[in-house]
């Protein structure tokens, strides 16, 4: 029995064109789920065809599903240098959603992974008929990929220990490449910033890692203020989970408490970030499918 068909699409986005795959259900119910991929070189099928499998499962429930490659990734055109959480790719998001709306698919559920979750949150206020938002290991801080570890370590450990750790993990061959040198320059820069401020006892120096992003709070708050259900999923070993726990002790916790039942926070074994095991992938797919089904009952 055919439950779905897949259709490639090129979608103009600014000066670029994005490769997208629309999965069309055999028995459509009129809601489209858009999968926002993580940052990095992963194209829209994602690890072990996670995106394809999720699309087929949701299509089996009657949902259209679209997944796409960011500009500069996969089959899309353009170039990309970084995936900074405070510079989400809302142009890409707008292009995909507007294209779907032009085709008559105006009722939306958005599902994003890591950087994708930050982009969908940043764009969500422009989606008129938004029925739900699912966030997989959403970063609560505004850091470029890889910046977080260096800053956190520079802040939290002593100079001697920091240097010791750096030397133990130093791979001399890495210094032969521009990428390797850039990595170690970044480590050194954060160490100097933090420790210099400490020596000067400068109380105004902002050396603390930002535990929660103001943008993240604003965007999430905007979605919740509209009464839109939100699913937040973490792996217990995700770095994002630790950041989320810290953030939850402050303003984020207050925001979630006010939202009440609108927000579902779920924890999975291992790591959701990167979807690094088949069992995690299956658990995430099953949870999203169940959650979409629950909120979908209100959308028909």
């Amino acid at each position: 029995m055919t439950v779905a068909t897949h259709h490639p699409m090129w979608i103009p986005a600014g000066d670029e064109e994005l490769m997208a795959i629309l999965t069309r259900p055999a028995d459509p119910r009129g809601t489209v789920v858009t999968l926002f991929p993580p940052g990095g070189y992963v194209f829209s099928s994602q690890r072990n065809r996670f995106g394809v499998r999720l699309a087929e499962r949701l299509a089996g429930r009657g949902y259209h599903v679209v997944r796409f490659d960011w500009h500069g990734i996969g089959d899309s055109t353009g170039t990309v240098d970084d995936f900074a959480h405070d510079r989400p790719f809302t142009t890409d998001a707008a292009a995909v959603v507007e294209r779907l709306e032009a085709e008559g698919l105006t009722r939306h559920i958005l599902v994003g992974h890591c950087f994708g979750s930050r982009t969908l949150l940043a764009y969500a206020d422009r989606v008129t008929d938004l029925r739900g938002v699912a966030l997989l290991s959403p970063p609560t801080r505004d850091l470029a990929r890889g910046e977080g570890t260096a800053r956190k370590m520079a802040y939290e450990v002593s100079t001697a220990r920091y240097l010791g750790m750096g030397l133990r993990t130093l791979r001399w061959e890495a210094l032969k490449t521009p990428e390797g040198r850039r990595r170690y320059r970044r480590l050194a820069k954060h160490l100097i910033t933090v420790k210099t401020a400490a020596l000067r006892r400068d109380p105004t120096a902002d050396v603390r890692p930002p535990w929660v992003s103001r943008l993240f709070l604003d965007h999430l708050g905007g979605v919740l203020d509209r009464g839109i259900p939100v699913l937040m999923m973490f792996g217990v070993d995700d770095g994002e989970k630790a950041e989320f726990d810290q953030a939850r002790t402050g303003t984020l916790g207050e925001l979630l408490a006010r939202a009440g039942d609108l927000v579902t926070v779920s924890m999975h074994e291992g790591r959701i970030h990167g979807l690094g095991s088949v069992s995690v992938q299956e658990g995430v797919i099953a949870e999203i499918e169940g959650w979409v089904g629950r909120i979908g009952e209100d959308t028909t």
Partner: protein, 298 residues
């Protein structure tokens, strides 16, 4: 820029036309196999089928394959890329045998030869084995190889090492050794390596394969792009010697730096676009200039 794609009622190609007149056409075939065909402006003077790696290496190498396809199309070459059944966007179960991979490659070759009189293959990593087996059916077809897997057993050794290294890095109580992994494969029919599935069928079918055996004897030009090093490595020299015994005219290009196929670029903690990586540019230049030398510039 003209975009003619629409959401079709039935599966069909989506076409992207470039200002140069070149075209990229993405589609699923009747079996759900996803492919992208890069048509150059004007009449193509040759065709290349790209056979990709599998597992994590497929994702890692994907953008480079898109970029080399676009570069070759700019040089007047028709290029067809596809996802093996059960990988990437294509429908199906996980790959279970070399013959199924080669069958998909052969279908891509047939699609190319319907449009151009001469065809070559570009195999990347594990895809080198597939490319060699498919090229063996085409007398004299040029064969370009990126960081080729010349030996199936060696490939799986690297894959299983990635599983062990990840377990160590994550502080796992039990680090799976090769015997354990093979035992799981025998008992359960599959093993999870960083979220990718290695099947017993694929392991059993391909671990004993060697690239020279798949290619077989016959004169043809072959390019080996070795990643990193100051000169050809021992493994490259061994492969060259084996291929030359078959009558193959081998060119070796040493480009860029060694790739960590199972780690994220640069050590795992940050991203850099492929277009900005010297390795990618060198690989593409090495490949396009070799095809120029083999076929001549139109």
């Amino acid at each position: 820029m003209t975009v003619t794609s629409e959401i079709p009622a039935r599966p069909g190609p989506s076409v992207r036309e470039l200002p140069s007149g070149a075209v990229e056409m993405a589609c699923f075939d009747d079996h759900g196999v996803f492919s992208v065909t890069h048509l150059p402006a004007g009449t193509p003077h040759g065709g290349v089928v790209v056979t990709s790696p599998i597992l994590a290496e497929q994702q890692k190498n994907y953008r480079r394959e898109v970029l080399v396809a676009r570069a070759l199309a700019d040089a007047g070459v028709l290029v067809r890329r596809f996802h093996y059944p059960g990988t990437g966007n294509s429908a199906g179960d996980e790959p279970s045998s070399m013959s199924k991979l080669v069958e998909a490659a052969t279908e891509a070759v047939e699609a190319v030869t319907a449009r151009v009189p001469r065809v070559a293959l570009l195999g990347t990593r594990f895809g080198s084995l597939v490319a060699a087996a498919a090229a063996a059916r085409i007398t004299g077809a040029p064969l370009a190889l990126w960081d080729p897997v010349a030996d199936g057993a060696r490939f799986f050794k690297e894959v299983f090492r990635a599983a062990r290294m990840t377990a160590v890095a994550r502080g796992a109580e039990e680090v799976p050794d090769r015997d354990h992994i093979l035992d799981v494969l025998r008992r359960e029919g599959r093993f999870d390596v960083l979220g990718f599935v290695v099947t017993r069928d694929l392991y059993d079918d391909t671990a004993g394969l060697r690239l020279p055996d798949l290619l077989g004897p016959g004169a043809r030009p072959v390019l080996i792009c070795q990643l990193g090093g100051s000169g050809p490595s021992r493994a490259t020299n061994d492969l060259v010697a084996d291929l030359e015994e078959l009558g193959v005219d081998v060119t070796v290009g040493v480009v860029g730096e060694a790739e960590s196929w199972w780690a994220t670029a640069g050590g795992g903690d940050y991203f850099r676009g492929e277009e900005g990586r010297p390795l990618t540019g060198e690989l593409i230049r090495c490949t396009t200039s070799w095809f120029d030398s083999v076929w001549g510039t139109p």
